[in-house]
Symmetry: C2
Subunit: 204 residues, 2 copies
């Protein structure tokens, strides 16, 4: 796992520690979660640009704040979600998103049966209100959790409304103009990496 991937997990561990009221954390403690050496953790912390006194450990809230700045999650990113199905509902109710600076402002679905239902405190809106909502809330990120064959169409719709960042969960690579950042999220990637490590372990 490379440095950039570890950093959001440090944030998760630190926020767990903060909830338990812990003040300091050692690089050794952080290292054991990733089976790396504590010098690697100290290198990661210097990439973040945080200066702690490694002797007495890093301040939990100090390091967490520095990670938030580094990742840009201390400032809120407003987002909309399109496709309120099983995965969409799990994401709407997931407290982890607001911890990473995501402020969900509205959710949409093309199925009339779902519209006007309330999920996780949000009333499901029809696709016709997309333009009005994106403009009035100055939305930064569109989360796409629609079926694979509908995903490119939805992507084109939001890019037309000047959305510059897309978080796509449908299992297909979306194409958008170069000024739009698309992150294709495929949970099965985690599975593929898990099988790779399992295979390596069996071969040892």
């Amino acid at each position: 796992m490379q440095t950039l991937r570890r950093i959001p997990y440090y944030h998760q561990i630190l926020s767990d520690m903060e909830q338990k009221g812990e003040q300091f954390v050692s690089s050794k403690y952080l290292a054991h979660f990733f089976h790396v050496d504590d010098t690697q953790v100290r290198k990661d912390v210097s990439v973040i640009g945080y200066k702690g006194k490694p002797k007495s450990g890093y301040s939990v809230s100090g390091l967490k704040g520095a990670i938030g700045d580094f990742l840009g999650i201390n400032t809120e990113n407003t987002a909309i979600l399109i496709g309120v199905g099983r995965l969409g509902s799990a994401l709407i109710e997931y407290p982890g998103l607001s911890e990473y600076g995501l402020k969900l402002v509205a959710v949409f679905d093309s199925n009339p049966v779902k519209q006007d239902k309330v999920i996780g405190g949000f009333t499901v809106l029809p696709m016709e209100s997309l333009k009005r909502v994106i403009q009035s809330f100055d939305v930064g990120i569109a989360i796409i959790t629609v079926p694979k064959n509908a995903a490119q169409g939805v992507c084109d719709l939001v890019v037309e409304q000047n959305i510059k960042a897309i978080w796509n969960f449908a299992p297909t690579q979306l194409s958008a103009s170069a000024d739009v950042t698309v992150r294709n999220e495929n949970m099965a990637v985690g599975l593929a990496l898990l099988s790779h490590y399992l295979k390596k372990r069996k071969a040892e």
Copy 2:
């Protein structure tokens, strides 16, 4: 994104191409999805250990097969899933898992209301049948999609039954003995990386 992370996405792109009946793919075509140079793709392919003739392009099915071997996803990994809620149901119905060699054999939930219901073709089983199922199916992977405060307890239960690989979606770092591979999946990590790129783009 480092090589190992790109490889499962190559697999996804190649399986999309295979479905469309395409025979060959160039390193240039694969490169544009990741905004990397085509020499990086050729380096990735050599890590996989596949020798194609880059002049006429790589064979789609050949490269896909080689990736499957590299990741260990051509052999099936049997799995169980615990916690049939919103996220669990989205994963059960997700066709991407079987493409990555996962064979789900049973699903469990502690809520009596959910037990005996059929989700995605699986009858939800009570936790009491965990031991019997793990032994009779020689299960390799346990997928955990229960609430955060129940996750460590479920992890301990499956490790007791000799499960050696855990795919954890609850937002907490699970601890297990060194011979157990735990992959903590946090979708919000994707969000954190997206905000990081957005922040960098705004600063440019």
